[in-house]
Subunit: 786 residues, 2 copies
């Protein structure tokens, strides 16, 4: 043990959390920082309180094995923020790795490159197939449901007793949703919602536990089928992105830990750097299959994930996206017996806009901007309501049975409200000859007519969107659209955040299309419905470039590109004025250490010295096994990276010579790679890179490793396994500079050194993520504070 | 002067070039490296020889003022590769900068952000207007020319004597081209060609002299008008990208050095980092205006330039692109009296494909792949021929008068060949009623018929492309298409690289459309023409994602996305097997130190120690003015960055404490910011960031600065102006790791330090760029070797 390490060895600090956040252990630190950093307002009011309350059982279950520590941990350690570790996108270029790379021939690298392409192709195929499966099953189930209900309604319309039809509808919907909610809450709570916030976090570099496991995929797929078939105000598109990501994570590793099956292929890709690239491709393939938007998918992945743009990677992501939409297209075309047409590129298809109506005039541009503003406002309202609702849920609805009951209640209310709206509506339209309505409800309309309200409520949301885009002028009257917007808005808002797998894209599009059509009822309503849909969706999710492209691709026509961009931009600007995007709200509510694109603009006066965690636990290059064991198994600490130092004779403290990860140490301990004391020969076997890869990504917890008392006295030589060239910064480096380095290279640990290369601190993700721009300038989040 | 600095002060080395490249000065260095790096094959045969020959007067004129040194420099200093300096995308976060940033309020940053948006809007508007100007003038000139020639041909067809028509045509074309070639060769040789290689280099971080100046823009615009009107096999689309970039560089700086006009706005953006972002936006706006492809434009910029993807930046780039295509659309629609339609989003418009024909069947996919392979082969042939031709030109055609004559000759030959083809063709088709042919030539056809060959040759290339895409089946016969492909292929190949402003996109599309139509003559020829065009263009330029999106957007329909991607991918794979893309060939022939996305795969065994330039000239924090003057004015060196060291008492060599740039030192010297000897008070005025910004980017040469003998004895305190936290790496860092850091952060200098923070070397762009993958593994380019 080096002196510096000894001094701090039991300080009980989390290396991804600042000292002052655990005042019990070293409260004096906090005073120091508060003195050094004047003018920094602390955000420790309502929000921090909320964070500490957001401790629902479902989320606690998501803890990694590594983190499952004994019960006696102080309570503040259990805070959510500590749950999230970082992914390591910086290769640990240790001797083993370099040796392997140097051994590999030019041909070897070419084979690797080909495998990458093959994997991307497979990701595309599987993602496409999953999308097909979801689509076909949902269509079948919804078809059965609507036929049964329709028959029942028709039966009772004349004889009276429609309340029985209502009951039937409510029971059917609730039953579907119950099944969906039960599998999610019981088997895999991480599969709830759209999964987009989780994938955003993953691509950002946050390790969200269990997010890319096979079990999650299965639950997600079944869950989304149930919730869509259950008639909730949800879409099946968002979950596709998550599904694609899981497929990618599975395929690229060439094994499934859940199924205990290792195909012994693609072993080279078993590390965070490579896996992340494939997960990007998977997410893109998911978007591509959901919207028939391969370019939009690529842009989504890049916008959310990539910090370093690599041409070949992007091209591969694009390949996966293309294969995905093509697979979907092919399979669905074959399924629908339209093989030669290939006309279903995505789960949702906006249908073909007439080339004549597709034009817009100059005078319409202000109207579009105005619609964007409305979308921004409504989106902000949606997000605000959902924010309050989510807080309520975190506080009061955290037991699985309550969650299932809430989901069922929403399903019942959705069915009842729909029924009431249809029942009370007197908007009768003549039946068209071309049977474009799948389930026309006559209800109280004259023969040969149907209820217009029913086309929007008594249908899968995808079909309703398309009807709103393409039905000719006069299909809906003003009241129908108005009531529909209003009810669907609140239903969708209530639904998002339930413990069911479901996306928010389609409901947003539907709300927007409804009020957009209302807005443009005097003109070409389809065009305005499209703009309204874009505005509403943009106002809720606040995606930018990728959403523009997704919508353009889903429309199949580039002419609307400019107005859609204007609408989305306005919606974003207006919405951002009030509240963040929906996904960001949910990420924040889970207190994830999410890194934005740049450091806050006004943070130049902060330096690495203020930002870093210090002091740091360091190991010697030749370290005693007992010391390492004690460190790793100390439950009060959960350091994940340790600077390695070397001590020259005569010097008091050692100089930085490397960085080693907890996971690497655990593998070393497990394989007992010890140097016997006083001797200098290696004990037992020589470790290979394969041993690290086999353990990835579920490294065993330190508690599972047993070391005898004799072995504790042995030494471990870390020099071969540590990363000998970790990135470092001097203490005077400004926060934006540290941030840029950290973000651009996807680091997990950044060592801060003084002018003679001695370790003075360590910067991790949480140290950077806690500074953010508030309304009144720079704020510091005290995440772990009670 | 520190000891370390003294030791090496006159070693006469270029800090962006390795010692061994100037064997006259320290040839012993070379031996050392060759011994240290065994197995590294040196590429010092033909190519290096060629590089030394590519020393044409026009290119020499492009030297920066800084580089215009006395005549007695050894000859090898004049090599092209030394001409290119790096841009500095890493902010020099010195005290002045940090003070300014810290002073700035939250509101200040918001205003900056708004200015960025305003600038992007302006870039879009101006780029769009330039595109309109080019389009309208070309249409007018070409209209006049074709009308005159047509009238003449009609006059002489019956009476005989068509040779007079030929002569007229030849003279007209040559005259246009002569004007175009003269302005390019005499006024601004950098404006030759499409400008895409230059913009690629700029975005990559290479400072290409004079590439973004106003004069270049003027010459480019006039040049492209002349060459298109002169009937060369060129397009006006490529140059738009360059034009957009120049507009961006001008607008964002709020001043024009050429016009000696400083608007005193946007001063904050006067540095490489910010300017590069705007130039990306400008290039995107150019693509967008050229092809009506805003998303394609964004992707082009990202694919070619951005290494660090930033969401807001991308969104701004997209905004500029959208504004650009919208401006063009609006102005052209107003010009053509079609205000309500807004139907001209780009300079080239592929026209509307029928929705019925737009479908493709499964069985066609292998055909498309096959077409991709043909495109790859033909593209490789094109590139190879052009490569030989370029070498020939570099050797023998380097005097301006020869260059003008060659351009005129090409124009004359193009006109003659076209005439001969039309004359010899007997492919007569009945005239259509809708007058879709602008200049139908009857020639020897019966009344009511026209010559089909003339529709392709006797027309602007844009119109010919559209005709090939949309003319119904049977418009052209087999021979017409075959001969057209053949002749146009060689004409286009000969034309690219002439000293005229012109792009290669349209000729490639035209060649491809012709053979594609030939390929699909048995089926729907339009679809195959499109695929052929994509294949040929992809085979020549080898762009990937961005080209797919550009073509999809130009087609206006997303259905062809998948086949276009397949075609482009096949073309790239096949083409890359033989030779690089056209732009890369031209970049290589100018020996630009271009950094690719990643370090060569097999370069893990190289470390910073082998890669870096060493020893390095260092300055003390408090340095004598005379020493600095002597260093900077030593013509044998052209260091641009100097590590600054501080020397503790008792230590032999100093520790790194900062990095200062040549340009900063020059500004300091110019303003005489000296500390008088023995005293410690500052001389004269205090320097501000504004002084550095005013001097940017054309810093005066050291020769223009005069320092008296007294002043030479003064000291300069560099601590306030140097970057106190330069990025460093240890000597053991592997090349891929160094490369990643360098590329991801857009560095210009990376300091290599030992374990006690002493400077041991400096890595610059050229040190990294010279390692590349050859056919037989890693190769090292000795760029400056004679």
């Amino acid at each position: 043990m080096a002196n510096i390490a000894k001094k701090v060895s039991w300080s009980g600090k989390n290396d991804e959390t600042r000292g002052e956040r655990t005042p019990l252990l070293n409260g004096s630190e906090e005073v120091r920082y508060n003195r050094q950093v004047p003018g920094l307002s602390c955000l420790c009011h309502e929000q921090s309180l909320l964070l500490s309350l957001s401790l629902c059982p479902a989320l606690l279950e998501m803890q990694d094995p590594v983190r499952s520590r004994p019960k006696e941990i102080p309570h503040n350690e259990k805070l959510l923020s500590l749950k999230y570790e970082s992914l390591d996108y910086d290769n640990s270029e240790n001797q083993l790795f370099l040796e392997e790379e140097r051994r590999m021939s030019h041909m070897g690298f070419r084979c690797l490159e080909i495998s990458r392409w093959v994997i991307c192709g497979l990701i595309g195929v599987f993602t496409g197939l999953i999308a097909c499966f979801i689509d076909i099953v949902v269509e079948k189930l919804a078809g059965v449901k609507y036929s049964v209900v329709k028959k029942n309604i028709e039966m009772f319309t004349e004889v009276g007793g429609l309340s029985i039809s209502l009951l039937l509808w409510v029971v059917l919907n609730s039953a579907f949703v119950m099944v969906g909610a039960i599998i999610v809450t019981c088997f895999e709570p991480i599969a709830a919602g759209s999964g987009i916030p989780q994938i955003k976090c993953y691509l950002n570099g946050v390790k969200v536990p269990r997010v890319v496991r096979l079990k999650t995929l299965v639950v997600k797929v079944c869950g989304v089928i149930c919730s869509v078939a259950g008639g909730l105000a949800v879409g099946k598109e968002g979950p596709m992105i998550h599904s694609g990501a899981v497929v990618a994570a599975g395929v690229s590793q060439g094994r499934s830990t859940s199924l205990k099956k290792d195909f012994k292929i693609f072993e080279y890709f078993r590390r965070d750097t490579e896996k992340r690239d494939f997960v990007s491709a998977g997410a893109a393939a998911g978007v591509s299959a959901a919207f028939g938007a391969p370019v939009g998918g690529v842009l989504f992945s890049l916008e959310e994930g990539a910090s370093f743009w690599n041409q070949m990677l992007t091209w591969r992501i694009f390949f996966a996206s293309m294969i995905s939409t093509f697979t979907l297209n092919l399979v669905l075309s074959v399924y629908h017996n339209k093989t030669t047409e290939l006309s279903s590129p995505g789960l949702i298809n906006f249908g073909t806009f007439d080339l004549e109506c597709v034009q817009y005039s100059l005078y319409e541009i202000p109207l579009f901007i105005c619609m964007g503003a409305i979308g921004g406002l409504l989106g902000a309202l949606f997000n605000l309501l959902n924010y309050w609702l989510t807080i309520f849920r975190i506080r009061y609805v955290h037991r699985p049975c309550l969650q299932v009951m809430e989901a069922m209640m929403v399903a019942a209310v959705t069915a009842s409200v729909s029924f009431a709206m249809i029942y009370l509506s007197n908007d009768c339209k003549p039946l068209k000859m071309d049977n474009s309505e799948e389930y026309p409800l006559q209800l109280f309309c004259a023969d040969g007519e149907y209820n217009a309200m029913a086309t929007t409520f008594f249908n899968t949301p995808e079909r309703s969107v398309r009807s709103l885009f393409h039905n000719p002028r006069g299909t809906y009257n003003l009241l129908t659209l108005g009531f529909f917007t209003l009810t669907y808005f609140f239903l969708a808002c209530w639904t998002y955040g339930l413990m069911v797998s479901a996306g928010v894209f389609i409901p947003s599009l539907l709300i927007g299309a409804a009020w957009g059509r209302l807005f443009g009822i005097w003109a070409d309503p389809g065009k305005y419905a499209l703009m309204g849909a874009a505005a509403q969706l943009g106002g809720i999710v606040r995606m930018t470039l990728s959403l523009t492209v997704i919508l353009v691709e889903a429309t199949g026509n580039v002419t609307y590109g400019f107005p859609i961009m204007l609408v989305l931009m306005t919606a974003k600007i207006v919405g951002d004025y009030f509240i963040e995007g929906l996904y960001d709200i949910h990420i924040k509510l889970q207190s994830v250490p999410f890194l934005h694109w740049e450091a806050p603009a006004t943070s130049h006066w902060l330096t690495a010295r203020e930002v870093m965690s210090s002091p740091v636990t360091c190991f010697n290059q030749l370290e005693k096994v007992g010391t390492i064991m004690d460190f790793l198994s100390n439950t009060a600490t959960n350091h994940n990276g340790f600077p390695v130092i070397v001590q020259a004779s005569g010097e008091q403290v050692g100089k930085l010579c490397g960085l080693i990860l907890r996971s690497q140490l655990i593998v070393l301990l497990k394989h007992k790679v010890f140097v016997e004391r006083a001797h200098s020969r290696l004990h037992q076997r020589k470790l290979q890179l394969k041993d690290f890869r086999d353990a990835y990504p579920r490294f065993p917890p330190i508690q599972s490793i047993h070391v005898s008392q004799d072995e504790r006295e042995c030494m471990m030589d870390l020099s071969e396994f540590m990363n000998p060239t970790p990135y470092t910064v001097p203490q005077e480096t400004s926060l934006p500079r540290v941030f840029k380095l950290f973000r651009a290279l996807g680091l997990r640990h950044l060592v801060v050194v003084d002018d003679v290369n001695k370790v003075v601190g360590l910067v991790t993700r949480k140290d950077l993520a806690r500074y953010h721009m508030g309304k009144h300038g720079l704020e510091e989040l005290h995440l772990a504070q009670m």
